[in-house]
Amino acid sequence: MRFMMFIYPGIKDEADWTPSAEAVGAMSKYNEELTKAGVLLALDGLHPTSEGARITYEDGKPRVTDGPFAETKEVIGGYWLLQTKTKEEAIEWASRCPAGGDVVLELRRVFEMSDFPPELQAAAGVSETEPEHTAAQ
């Protein structure tokens, strides 16, 4: 199963958005651990909201508001996409993230084939005839 892990850095002033060299080092080491364990599929860090925008809708029409936004507690700082066998494994990895203070990590499971009903799951696994070999890979 795949989990998206979001980090909410909980930074009050976006001027403090860039982390210290020490924090970056610890995070790199953590990311390397995830890589060596074969669980990391993707990751990215995000710029502060001053370089982003929000789109809301009024009467079905999009309305754009440029950042920065006031409610910094709910601002996402980055994400990891993890592939694990269980939710507990994802939680265990999350709990090893070098974070503290006001940081919040959130794990969200990604929709995939195994979330569909059993008959569809079974359908997805069937291939008695190695079909792709009959057509040059």
Binding site: K29, E32, T35, K36, A37, G38, V39, L40, L41, A42, L81, Q83, T84, K85, T86, E88, E89, I91, E92, W93, M113, S114, L120, Q121, A122, A123, A124, G125, V126, S127, E128, T129, E130, P131, E132, H133, T134, A135, A136, Q137
Partner: protein
């Protein structure tokens, strides 16, 4: 925290730590079977204590320290107390005394080497493929014997016995715990990659096993491939294999239709391919190609899969490139099946006459004498060339050779549709 939650947490810790733990212990006690027992015993202690005490801050280090204490006890208690064991006990004692330095970068490297050495040991050519697969899934993947048995549709005691015998064989053969080097490395690495790809294919082509285990095996193989790529980043074929698996897995969502029928690659809805996995596959392929002076079989197969992956539609497939890649692959991997696929690629690139020439060259191949795809492909090519009677005879022969009912019906229908002779085939 309730006990049941902790139990699942311990399972998760085990999944993360078991390979490093067993690898580290094998390095110390020089016996893979003893190392696994010690790791299991440490896990039992954790299962007893952690529900009360909570999971320690560094569960991996906790398990390792516990296993080391158990190791000293075990080694001292052994009847056949040899000098080797005394020495091991002393070494572990010294290590325990120095613990605390356990978190520096040097140790990280050693942990990586331990896991890699363990992989090379589990996949040693002295073991049968079945034994290598079972050991790897158990000791590196952290799968239970039950899970392995279910995945491969064999009784649990068979898997258990297979592993016991494998560990004895490794001990008897005095297989060293190390990452091989020099000429030995290529041969041993090929054995590791073979095991990973066999696991993947067991999940991907599903010759046996319960449905739910099939995607799990693919995921397990991908995880093993990613671990290998991280631990042995200089090996082009490691990236090649990872690329091949990622690219094939990317197509999984489109490989069967709603009714469960297999969908041929060229007829798949490419919108359903997993774009992230496709991208990861192409990235791994780029890494492989950067390091490869002489492309190996996994890299070449990945490059073929990438040609399909890059084509927005089946019609946009670069068949000339695929035919050229098969020309290279058939030299590195001269199997009849590759040769047949090469003929199909040449047909797509240069027309049925070019394909038929290659297929005809394979008719004398003994390994293909009873392989239904040879007459099946030949029949299709003859049909395209307007040689209906010959085509029908080949397709009927293919129908005789296949074990698969659905495929036989399709072949007989195709045979009956071949013109050139008014006779039709019934019974489809």
């Amino acid at each position: 925290m309730t006990a049941s939650v902790t139990h699942q947490t311990i399972e998760a810790v085990w999944r993360i730590e078991s390979a490093r733990l067993i690898g580290g212990l094998t390095r110390i006690v020089r016996d893979i079977g003893l190392a696994e027992d010690l790791a299991q015993d440490a896990l039992v202690v954790a299962l007893e204590r952690w529900p009360e005490s909570g999971v320690p801050d560094n569960p991996g280090a906790w398990l390792m320290a516990t296993a080391k204490y158990l190791a000293i006890d075990t080694v001292r208690r052994r009847d056949r107390l040899e000098r080797k064991h005394e020495q091991i006990a002393r070494e572990i004692g010294m290590q325990l005394a120095m613990d605390g330095s356990d978190l520096d970068a040097e140790l990280d490297d050693r942990i990586g080497d331990d896991v890699l050495s363990l992989m090379f040991m589990c996949c040693h050519p002295v073991l049968s493929a079945d034994a290598r697969i079972a050991l790897t899934l158990r000791l590196i993947g952290g799968l239970t014997t039950t899970e392995i048995a279910r995945a491969f549709l064999v009784p649990e005691p068979t898997v258990a016995q297979r592993m016991v015998r494998a560990k004895r064989t490794l001990t008897a053969a005095e297989v060293p715990f190390e990452v091989p080097s020099g000429d030995e490395l290529d041969r041993r690495l090929a054995s590791v990659l073979e095991v990973v790809y066999l696991v993947f294919n067991e999940g991907y082509t599903a010759t046996a096993g319960e449905d739910w285990m099939r995607p799990a095996l693919c995921e397990e193989a991908l995880r093993l491939g990613r671990i290998l790529a991280a631990l042995a980043p200089g090996e082009a074929e490691v990236h090649g294999l990872l690329a091949l698996m990622e690219l094939q897995a990317a197509r999984s969502p489109a490989r069967v239709d709603a009714g469960g029928e297999p969908v041929l690659l060229l007829e798949q809805d490419r919108e359903r391919w997993d774009q992230l996995q496709l991208r990861r596959g192409l990235e791994a392929l780029a890494l492989a190609q950067r390091g490869a002076a002489n492309p190996g079989p996994y890299l070449l197969q990945a490059a073929i899969a990438a040609c399909h992956g890059r084509a927005r539609s089946a019609a946009q497939t670069d068949w000339r490139e695929i035919a050229a890649l098969y020309d290279a692959l058939v030299v590195r991997l001269p199997t009849p099946v590759v040769a047949l696929n090469r003929a199909v690629a040449h047909t797509m690139a240069f027309g049925p006459a070019a394909g038929l020439e290659l297929v005809d060259a394979l008719r004398a191949e003994p390994a293909l004498a009873r392989y239904h795809l040879l007459p099946s492909v030949r029949g299709e090519l003859l049909a395209k060339l307007g040689r209906g009677a010959e085509a029908r005879a080949e397709l009927e022969r293919a129908a005789e050779l296949t074990d698969n009912r659905r495929e036989r019906e399709t072949l007989l229908r195709r045979a009956a549709a071949c013109t050139g002779d008014p006779r039709t085939v019934s019974g489809s």
